[in-house]
Amino acid sequence: MSKRNISAVVFFMIIAVFFVFSALMMHPFGVPEETDMDDEIIKEAQNETGTNNGVTSVVFDYRGFDTLGEATVLFTAVAGVIMVFRRLKQ
């Protein structure tokens, strides 16, 4: 075995140990540790934003800035694609 293969094996073993430990330290499924924010949104979303769909109330009202960023990303992507292919057409 060459030196490169040995270093690759050691590297993958370190990553495997890291993954196993992080899987063992994970808290059980469906039991979040901090639930204050979830309870607050579930309790207040219908009264504050008037939407029956809690996810949409988070996306468009509580976290509106995030949606603004997504829209900006999409706008930039479309502008870039149109610019590149307009140059390619001529």
Partner: protein, 158 residues
Amino acid sequence: MSGMSKIVRTISSIVFPLIIIYGLYIISHGHLTPGGGFQGGAVVASGCAMILVAYGSIWTINKMKEKNLSLLESIGAICFILLAFFGLGFGAVFFNNFLVGSNFLFGTIPYFGSTIADINTGGVVPLMNFAVGIKVIAGLFAIVLVMAHASSTKEGKK
């Protein structure tokens, strides 16, 4: 990209209105059922991409110019940001939901818990869904249309 056979074109023109109606339903009921502007816009844009594949890019670009699509996308983005600034003007903060609780438009507040779906709720959220929906439809379809047209003209030159 040239068009496909007559069978494919007929079937896709039958299915196309159903896809459009389903996508617009997802957009307009975004505050009641799962979905919203992004998801419904992706559904409508994939219906338009199906028409593009079936009929070919030259036929499609004669019907729908790429310039109009980018104009429509900019209109959607401007409506979205304008609604956010209306929150700053009429309410207190940026992205404030100033329409909820008023008697103007989408102002009803539902009761707590699982209630009957009322389309007249949500405040600013349905309007933002419409704006983002227009933006996503026009943006995704413009990307697909421009790429297909560029590849078809490149093939024609060879």
